[in-house]
């Protein structure tokens, strides 16, 4: 959601539309949400080495994704993603997400606490994403207001 100055109106966008660079950083909504991957892609798995599986995702016809292919490197033991690589439709990698930290907030359930998005077209452009503190429980709606998102929210 955001006011588009050129169009002169507010545009409410679906999840796939959130691929745009977010606030000028290399983080985009889609990088952080796993849902797109399941909805729009045809998976194909093979062993990469003894510890990891390489999951190759090809978009379904007319799927609203700009990628030509997405690959996921998944740790066999805990079934946790280690690396996601996004390819354009010409076969070139465009960006990758490397996940380096997890927290187990319930038995067998994990939360990503440290990840890094690298822009492969612009050498050295990267965005680190770290969760320093986390809590389990319901989140009050008020935490999603504009001001709460800016100031932070205690509960």
């Amino acid at each position: 959601m955001g006011l588009q100055p050129r169009l002169g109106r507010v545009l409410r966008l679906p999840p796939s539309g959130r691929n745009s660079r977010f606030l000028g950083s290399d983080v985009s909504y889609a990088d952080l949400s796993g849902r797109d991957l399941e909805d729009y892609y045809q998976p194909q798995a093979r062993d990469a080495d003894e510890n990891t599986i390489l999951l190759e995702l090809t978009p379904k016809p007319r799927a609203p994704t700009p990628w030509g292919k997405v690959t996921l490197t998944v740790e066999k033991k805990r079934v946790l993603p280690q690396k996601i690589v996004y390819y354009d439709q010409r076969g070139n990698p465009v960006k990758e997400v490397v996940i380096s930290g997890f927290a187990e907030y319930a038995p067998g359930r994990y939360l990503i606490t440290a990840s890094e998005v690298r822009d492969l077209l612009n050498q050295g452009w990267r965005t680190r994403f770290e969760v320093s503190d986390w809590k389990v429980g319901p989140v009050p709606d008020g935490c999603f207001s504009q001001s709460a998102l800016e100031r932070g929210c205690r509960y």
Binding site: Q4, R6, L7, R9, L11, R12, L13, P14, P15, S16, G17, N19, S20, R21, P59, R62, A63, P64, T65, P66, W67, G68, Y86, D88, Q89, V94, L121
Partner: protein, 409 residues
């Protein structure tokens, strides 16, 4: 006994025109220049207005647009027509002009590298060709044929870095909530109209209906010959039920209209100034030549021509040379504007003026307009300048005394 008759005077003047070659050429050249300048100037002014109009009628908007009144105020799919039956009935009773349904909405385009917001236009691929030149201006690939396809302005495609055959993600949120589709780029438009080349996005109207949730169309684009938009729009408006309106392109171009009309108003004093300069040039040319010939006139007066006939002779000489210059100017002027109306020689010039130009809806091409009216304008310029210019010689010939002229050095 009778003095020099009008015929004799005219004949003498005609002979002098050809005998005083250089003077005639000079005067004719000055007049020709003024005529060419006038013709070219007005042709450009009209050409500009028509280019703007044409670009908007054939590329950016439509000759006539039929939509709900609310849509004109806020062109959002929410204000669109869920069915177009009423509008189509009105078209039928107004003589069934060619039309195409359109569904226009704001959305986001996403390529692997970039996202950009745009106004997207859902069109019926076949019907669209009847009202728009865009389908005929595909530079690469082809025009839309079926759902699942998208056609882009070539500059937009360059910015997004998408190529033919690649998938582009189109997203919007309208009546149906947030929705998106991956469409295959099948064609790139090279319309030479900046709004189209820079921002044009065309997809199948069925895809647009799916994305927006609007079952009908936002508006109907109706065809009308250039210059007849207003008439058709008025006729349609009469047939349409309350809540629906038809608007000619000129009413929808917004601030461009005021710009162009202000330009046209400004052009009148400039045109007058042009005529004034022409008058000045013709006058000074004539004055010099008349002063030079004082002794000759003295002899002619001594031999028995009266002052009035002498005055007429000088004026006729100037008039002949002026007429020759005017005809020459017509030839050159119309030749020039014919060329510039068929060849895009001025476009690159105007492009130098940059942003303002492309915001008016045009860039790379500019054609002058051809109208017989410019001959009339140039004639007025020539006559006004001639009247001013002939005044002095005629006056001088009237006052010239033979004895004094003979003593003139």
């Amino acid at each position: 006994m009778k003095g020099a008759t009008a015929m004799t005077t005219a004949r003498l003047a005609w002979r002098n025109v050809w005998r005083h070659r250089q003077r005639t050429y000079l005067l004719a050249a000055v007049v020709a220049y003024a005529s060419v300048a006038t013709i070219f100037y007005w042709s450009m002014i009209d050409g500009y207005k028509l280019s703007v109009l044409e670009a908007h009628a054939r590329y950016v908007l439509a000759p006539v647009t039929v939509a709900r009144t609310a849509w004109f105020a806020d062109p959002d799919p929410e204000n669109g027509m869920s069915d177009t039956d009423q509008a189509l009935a009105a078209l039928t009773s107004a003589g069934s002009p060619p039309y195409a349904p359109r569904l226009r909405f704001a959305g986001l385009l996403t390529s692997p590298y970039l996202s950009e917001t745009a106004f997207l236009r859902g069109v019926d691929p076949v019907a669209e060709a009847a009202v728009s030149r865009v389908p005929a201006r595909i530079g690469k690939g082809r025009w839309l044929a079926a759902p699942g396809e998208v056609v882009l302005g070539y500059k937009l495609a360059e910015r997004l870095d998408v190529r033919l055959g690649e998938r582009l993600v189109v997203s919007t949120a309208a009546l149906a909530g947030p929705r998106s589709l991956g469409l295959e780029v099948v064609g790139l438009v090279h319309a030479r109209v900046s709004t189209v080349d820079d921002f044009g996005v065309y997809l199948h109207i069925d895809d647009a209906r799916y994305l927006t949730g609007l079952t009908g169309a936002t508006h109907l684009a109706v065809n009308a010959p250039l210059g007849h938009e207003q008439t058709l729009a008025r006729r349609l408006a009469k047939e349409l039920p309350a809540g629906l309106t038809a608007k000619p392109v000129w009413d929808l171009v917004g601030p461009i209209k005021t710009d162009v009309e202000a330009g046209k108003k400004l052009s009148l004093p400039i045109g007058l100034l042009l005529a004034l300069f022409a008058a000045l040039a013709v006058t000074s040319t004539l004055i010099v030549s008349v002063l030079e010939r004082t002794r000759e006139f003295g002899v002619i007066l001594a031999l028995g021509m009266d002052n009035a006939s002498l005055g007429w002779m000088i004026v006729l000489e100037a008039a002949f040379a002026t007429a020759v210059g005017w005809l020459l100017g017509l030839l050159l002027g119309y030749g020039l504007i014919y060329y510039t109306s068929t060849h895009n020689v001025l476009g690159p010039f105007f492009q130098l003026s940059g942003e303002v130009w492309s915001e008016a809806g045009l860039t790379e091409e500019f054609y002058t307009h051809l109208s017989p009216l410019y001959a009339f304008y140039s004639l007025i310029t020539v006559i006004v300048s001639a009247l001013a210019a002939f005044f002095f010689p005629a006056l001088r010939a009237r006052r010239l005394q033979a004895a004094a002229a003979l003593r003139w050095e």
